[in-house]
Amino acid sequence: MTNKRFKNFAFDAATIGLVLVYLFPIIWLYSASLKPTTDIVGAPFDLLPRSVTLSNFTRMWNAVGFQDALRNSLVVALATAVVVTSIALLAAFSLSRFRYRLQGVFATTILAMQMLPGIVMVVPLIVILRRMNLTDNILGLMITYLLLGLPVAVWMLKGYMDEIPPALDEAAMIDGATDWQVLTRIIIPLMAPATVAVAAFTFMLAWGEYLFALSLMTSTESKTLPLALQAALGRYTIDWGMLTAGGVLISIPPTILFIYFQRYLLGGLTSGSVKG
């Protein structure tokens, strides 16, 4: 018995140790963001700050373009989340509840689009958006995020919708409900948490996206957070303290969202592969 308890303890200790080593860069980032700049450069090994300061955060907050960038990121990510989730709900409903000739083609398209990486689309999308005068424009950026976010959202929502017994909506239809009412009154309320989770996931995608933001958003006022962080490198020097504070500020929203919605997202994300 004691032997087993010891074994459990040893395993726990080893697991904690390895996870800490693995997470070292993250812990170090969070810790550095609270250190005064002199300690960041002078005592880089201290995992815990010797003295805690919020000055890095205030400098980042007041840096040129940071507040604009925060607003831009929020607008783009929220708008993308809402639009993508709405379109994806309709598409998932279509794939989950109807039978028609091109359904297989559509489903395959979504699966294929899900694998479409941004880098192979960047040339034509940028050229087209330049022609439409949508560069350096939040709408233009959002259009590219639709492409990145929609396929995954449809696929995850379809997975959750498939789990709701069709008998429920058939019963409602017998009572005279229309397709639209079945979707909005029965299905969406039943999968509300999953829907919010998918919206959160889309939000995260848009929030941290770098390639299209870098290619499209050029002026200081229209940059999103990842670009503002890069700009914070400064024209002439690197303010490490400010940079770590910015890194922490950008990481917090996706981290909280993900931890909160973990249960739904992990199931949904791996459903294509794990559930089969």
Partner: protein
């Protein structure tokens, strides 16, 4: 499940279809068109028909072929490391213990962090002047005075490791989910038959993990093959092209050299490769669904 009017089915799919046609298919076709043109912004402001010459240039471009090879090494390295880290953590976290619930959440942090944050954090950790990790490696004599990221023979290894570090949690979670679905009785029966821990792993756990590992490796492999952010922010493809991946090369042609059509040609070539990847992926999925 009763079938409903198909018109409604099309209608509900229509918004998504419009997005795919306008933002997906149309740009792809436009890119194919561009790949047959010559469009060098320093010479002309509109594309000029060029036929297959862009592809000839692509075949003769040694820098591109070197990047292709490098991208394969990077992809295989990333996925292999992700698998090793993922398997280690999945096995550790699968034990029933109070702390493991918390740790399985925490371990996702690198995966959730935006790539700009990951790239800068590591760039700094490895900096020859200020980097904490660099100084540790230096103390152990594993690196010289200059950073890993300055050494052309080690920079690719360094960025590959960072990429695996970021992607490993995804692999961990998928493997963990599969481990949790293996019925306890299998191990109990094996234990009764006298199998030790290693044999239990070898004959029960590992074979059951193979299918999910293959599919996850493919997904993570595609992600790695087409990645751009991490390497661009950490090294911009340098030093001296040591970390020049296909995606970085494409971006450079487009934004730094103003070779719009050549970038499109590379894009089309990368799309064709993707077609091969995804048919393997879809084939595997179908096989699993019918199995």
């Amino acid at each position: 499940m009763g079938s409903r009017r198909s018109a409604a089915g099309y209608l509900f799919f229509a918004p998504a279809l419009i997005v795919f046609l306008l933002v997906g298919l149309y740009p792809i076709l436009y890119q194919i068109y561009l790949s047959f043109t010559d469009w060098y912004l320093l010479r002309s402001l509109t594309p000029v028909w060029y036929g297959l010459d862009g592809y000839k240039r692509l075949l003769a471009d040694t820098v591109l072929w070197e990047s292709f090879l490098r991208t394969i090494i990077w992809t295989v390295g990333t996925v292999a490391l992700e698998f090793v880290i993922g398997l280690l953590f999945a096995l550790l976290l699968n034990r029933r213990s109070r702390i493991n619930a918390i740790l399985s959440g925490l371990i996702l942090l690198p995966w959730v962090a935006p790539s700009i944050v990951v790239a800068y954090t590591w760039r700094w950790l490895l900096d020859g002047q200020y980097g904490a990790l660099h100084q540790v490696l230096y103390q152990f004599g594993l690196v010289g005075e200059r950073s890993l990221l300055v050494d052309p023979s080690l920079a690719l290894l360094a960025v590959t490791a960072v990429s695996a570090w970021k992607g490993a949690p995804f692999m961990t979670i998928a493997l963990l989910a599969t481990l949790k679905s293996i019925p306890e009785e299998l191990y109990e029966a094996a234990a009764v038959d006298g199998a030790n821990l290693w044999n239990q792993f070898r004959f029960i756990t590992f074979p059951l993990l193979i299918p999910v590992s293959v599919v996850m490796s493919l997904i993570l492999g595609v992600l790695a093959f087409y990645s751009f952010d991490l390497v661009w922010i950490m090294t911009k493809g340098g030093p001296t092209d040591a970390t020049l991946l296909l995606g970085v090369y494409l971006f450079r042609q487009f934004f730094e050299r103003n070779e719009l059509s050549y970038a499109a040609t590379i894009g089309v070539a990368m799309l064709l490769l993707l077609l091969a990847f995804s048919s393997v992926y879809l084939g595997l999925l179908r096989k699993r669904q019918t199995a």
